[in-house]
Symmetry: C2
């Protein structure tokens, strides 16, 4: 899986800029899945990796970084031994859930008609 979204073509095209804007957030391999996995609450790196088997550590950490940079998720290092890290959606990230929910809904319809 992979998602690419052009990140910038400077003069915002007239119409569907918001669409493009937000697509960029949920773009990137496995990004939607990560958000979806976090929808019920915080999860640790290895849990996320287990939730989404085909993802590699590299891509997962890359995606987590991006999402954190965009303010969609927050990262908390737990001072345990061995150290573990928890990720959870920020308020901003939770705003994405309805959109993903809508996508999932359509996915079901697509599936049932295929």
């Amino acid at each position: 899986m992979a998602l690419k979204m052009r990140k910038n073509h400077s003069p915002n095209p007239p119409g569907p800029c918001m669409l493009t804007e937000c697509m960029a957030v949920i773009a990137g391999a496995w990004a939607p899945n990560v958000i979806w996995s976090l929808r019920a609450g915080a999860r640790r790196f290895s849990e996320l990796k287990a939730d989404i088997p085909p993802v590699t550590s590299k891509v997962l950490s890359t995606r987590l970084s991006e999402l954190e940079a965009r303010g969609v998720i927050s990262r908390h290092v737990m001072p345990t031994s061995p150290p573990s890290v928890e990720y959870q959606l920020t308020a901003l990230g939770r705003e994405l859930i309805p959109a993903l929910q809508a996508i999932v809904d359509v996915g079901h319809k697509l599936k049932s008609r295929a």
Copy 2:
């Protein structure tokens, strides 16, 4: 802009398969914008191209072919001279609108907080 989605990693991963399923449909460069432009009704090739300035003819026609193949849009050749072609959403395609609407909504929130 570009979107990639893995099309198949055979044993459907437990959870977010529907998500992936549907993401694949709206993935691909400018696909969401095309659907969005068709939201209000049928449009011709050149109109779509005008709606989404940065898209090239090749990519637009590629995307239209894919979307048609997926049953999201329908293609009608008008027997005029010069010939023109109209595209419109199928019932299936219209199912996608709520999802895109949700994405646009989130886009606004993202924008207003950035």
